[in-house]
C-alpha cells in the first residue's frame, strides 16, 4: 500500500519541472522580469511537490498502521446500522457509516466511519450487513474495517 505510479510521477514532475523553472532561466541569463515570473512558477510547483510528498508519506504511515492492526488486532464483526452518502470523490461515494462493533473481549459498541467506496460497494452498505473488522487490542477506537 503506497503511492502508485501516477502519484510518484506527479511528485517527480512538479519537483523537477519546478526546480528547472526556478534555476535554469537564471543560469542561462534570461532577462530579470521573465526569469522572476518563471522562478515564481517554479517555486510554486516545488511547493506543490512538497505538499504531495507530505501527503504521500502520511498515507504510507496510515497504511503501515492499518497493516499492523490487521496483523496484531482482535478480529470481530461490524454490523452496519446506518449508511449514507452526501458527496462523491472521483465518481465514488463518500460513505458515512454507523457501525456496531462486536469484538471478543471488548464487548459491543457503536462507532462511526467515513470511507470512499466504489459504487458497487456503496450500494451494499445497508443496515444489517456484517463485515469483518480488526481492532487494536490497546485502543478500541482504532480499527480496520474490511469491506
Amino acid at each position: 500500500m503506497q503511492p502508485n505510479k501516477v502519484g510518484i510521477g506527479l511528485i517527480a514532475f512538479f519537483g523537477l519541472a519546478g526546480a528547472a523553472f526556478a534555476i535554469v532561466p537564471i543560469l542561462i541569463g534570461v532577462p530579470g522580469e521573465v526569469a522572476g515570473i518563471l522562478a515564481s512558477i517554479g517555486v510554486i510547483w516545488v511547493l506543490v511537490a512538497g505538499g504531495l510528498l507530505w501527503y504521500a508519506r502520511r498515507q504510507e504511515k496510515k497504511s503501515a498502521r492499518n497493516d499492523w492492526i490487521f496483523r496484531q488486532g482482535l478480529r470481530g464483526t461490524a454490523t452496519v446500522l446506518h449508511a449514507g452518502s452526501s458527496a462523491t470523490v472521483n465518481e465514488m461515494p463518500l460513505m458515512s457509516l454507523r457501525l456496531e462493533l462486536d469484538v471478543p473481549g471488548q464487548g459491543t459498541r457503536e462507532a462511526k466511519r467515513r470511507e470512499i467506496m466504489p459504487v458497487f460497494v456503496a450500494n451494499r452498505m445497508e443496515p444489517g450487513l456484517v463485515l469483518p473488522v480488526y481492532v487494536n487490542p490497546g485502543d478500541p477506537d482504532e480499527y480496520v474495517l474490511v469491506w
Partner: protein
C-alpha cells in the same frame, strides 16, 4: 432470431430455464457497474447447474466500443462475512483501474500466493482479507480446476454475496453458455462449502 437468441433458447430448452426477456441485476459487481446499468438481454432464470439457482444473460454496453459479456449470476450470501470481495479475472481482460489516482491506499490487493492460479488469472481481494480463508478457498483442487476446466475466458467476481461468472464473447453458443453456467455453479458450490466449514 439472432444467433445469440438462438443459443439462449437452446440453453433454456435443454435446462428448463425460464426466459425473462431482460433482467436488471443492478450494480452488484465491478463488471455490472462497468455495464452502466444495462440489463441482461436475453436472460434466463433457473438452475444453473448442480442445484445452484441463478440468472444467465447477455450484457452489452458501449464505452469506446461495444462490449459483450455473457454472465451467470447467483448468490452466496454467507461469503460476505468471510470475504466481502474476491475477484478472479482472466489475465489480459481489460478492466478499469480501481486505484485512486495518486496517493490513496489501494482499494484492492492482489493475491499472488498461487503461481498456478496467477498464470491464468489475476486475483484481487479486499486489502485486509483474511489470507487463511483465501488459501482454503483456493485449494489445490480448485486451482487445478480453474486452470483447466472452465471456458477459456471465464472470470468471476464475488462481491458481498453476489457471484458473477462471465465470459467475454459475441456468440459463445449454447454449449459455451452451458459451460459458463456449470463453471459459475462450481465456484458457487466451492465458496458455499468453504463458508460452511
Amino acid at each position: 432470431m439472432s444467433d445469440v437468441q438462438s443459443a439462449y433458447a437452446e440453453l433454456a430448452a435443454a435446462r428448463g430455464l425460464e426466459a425473462l426477456g431482460s433482467f436488471a441485476p443492478g450494480p452488484l459487481t465491478p463488471l455490472l457497474v462497468e455495464g452502466k446499468g444495462e440489463p441482461l438481454r436475453p436472460a434466463l432464470r433457473g438452475t444453473l447447474d448442480d442445484g445452484v439457482e441463478g440468472v444467465v444473460g447477455q450484457l452489452a454496453y458501449k464505452r469506446n466500443k461495444t462490449f459483450r459479456f455473457h454472465l451467470a449470476l447467483t448468490e452466496v450470501p454467507a461469503a460476505t462475512a468471510f470475504a466481502p470481495r474476491v475477484f478472479c479475472i482472466r489475465r489480459g481482460r481489460g478492466t478499469r483501474d480501481d486505484e485512486f489516482y495518486g496517493f490513496e491506499s489501494r482499494q484492492s490487493k492482489l493475491w499472488t500466493e498461487s503461481k498456478a492460479l496467477n498464470e491464468r488469472y489475476e486475483v484481487a481481494t479486499s486489502p485486509y482479507q483474511d489470507p487463511n480463508w483465501l488459501r482454503q478457498l483456493f485449494s489445490p483442487s480448485l486451482v487445478d480446476w480453474l486452470g483447466t476446466k472452465p471456458p477459456a475466458d471465464f472470470s468471476f467476481e464475488l462481491a458481498y454475496g453476489a457471484l458473477l461468472g462471465s465470459v467475454e464473447a459475441d456468440d459463445p453458443g449454447a454449449d459455451g453458455l452451458a459451460a459458463l453456467c456449470e463453471a459459475t455453479a462450481h465456484v458457487a458450490t466451492r465458496v458455499r462449502e468453504e463458508c460452511e466449514e
